[in-house]
Subunit: 199 residues, 2 copies
């Protein structure tokens, strides 16, 4: 990796930390940027600066947008009363791409993990319980990954929500074992949503 | 790709234009940035802004650095008298990684191509001819890709340099046919350099 000038080398090292880019492809990406400085590099730099300055976690659902309350939580057209619980913002995006869900979300930001000492508070589960009452929620759809951690978390949430009397459902078994939402095609997600089962 | 907020969507579209990143991996990369805003996104944004503002083509050799004259052209330690001609800055970096060359460079910025109407002027070949006299060059090493266009360009340059009496050599046939320098391991490049043949 050596022999590019220091500042460019530092940029390559930063790019290499992105998922999907290793040291070699990061170098090629930076070279591409250097060749297209005004057409590609400057717009990308400005977009990054702008998004880094404005992006924030929605204080209601945990989605990322450039507002304190994200467009989904702020949209009058979205149904109130139904919450879809997802592990990550990427899963929220995948649900939205798939279409078929018109309610609101709750982004956990991960799954329960004794190993990494991630407990219910870190996942905003108490906040979820509070939303059930505050927003008069009648159904919670657990759209968690079909992994061991995802299903453990789903069961924990179902139990935590039991006292509220809210109806809790989960995506149908259309989601393949070990599958992660973000890698599924839209049709599979839609079908699993339509056939969701009550827990 | 829809459903991320507009500004984030625009960032994903810009990232997707980088070599090695498609729309899907660009989205994952941007999500990674959004999750690590202060640790990864802000440093990357600042590095891009900084490099975009300072990067320029060396007025002597065509290398890219943050100076009008690049560190290689400015280094007293680098041998004068021997020029290595490469197609692209990525090839210059590959030569430097391989080691074994202590002279200076001339970056063409491409190869001759009737199809794309890239002629000798666009490749700074007249400037190369001028450097032979100005810098008292005794040998020119053509380190061009072993592609049809690369070899056509090598022959054109050898003929253009003939009147100057400078010795012209090319990397040895250690470079596989169709091979591009940037994809070769360092040992192959070093061996080809050591066994370069006079044209
Ligand atoms: Zn929200
Ligand atoms: Zn230079």
């Amino acid at each position: 990796m050596a022999n590019a000038p220091g500042e460019i080398e530092a940029l390559i090292a930063l790019m290499a930390r992105l998922p999907g880019l290793g040291p070699r492809s990061a170098r090629r990406a930076v070279l591409h940027l250097l060749r297209k400085r005004s057409v590609v590099m400057e717009p990308l730099a400005q977009a990054l600066v702008s998004v880094a300055a404005t992006a924030r976690d929605c204080r209601i659902c945990g989605n990322i947008s450039d507002h304190e309350v994200c467009p989904i939580c702020a949209a009058d057209k979205r149904a109130t009363g139904v919450l879809c619980v997802v592990e990550d913002v990427s899963d929220l995006w995948a649900m939205e791409r798939a279409g078929g869900f018109s309610g609101r979300y709750h982004v956990l930001g991960g799954t329960l993990s004794a190993l990494d000492s991630i407990g219910p508070e870190a996942l905003r589960i108490p906040h979820l319980v509070q939303r059930i009452g505050d927003e008069a929620i009648t159904e919670v759809i657990l759209a968690l990954n079909s992994t061991v951690d995802g299903q453990t978390t789903a069961h924990y949430i179902a139990e935590a929500l039991a006292p509220t009397g809210v109806q809790v459902s989960a995506l149908a078994q259309g989601v393949p074992m070990g599958g992660e939402l973000d890698y599924l095609d839209d049709g599979t997600i839609s079908a699993a949503l339509a056939a969701r089962r009550r827990l």
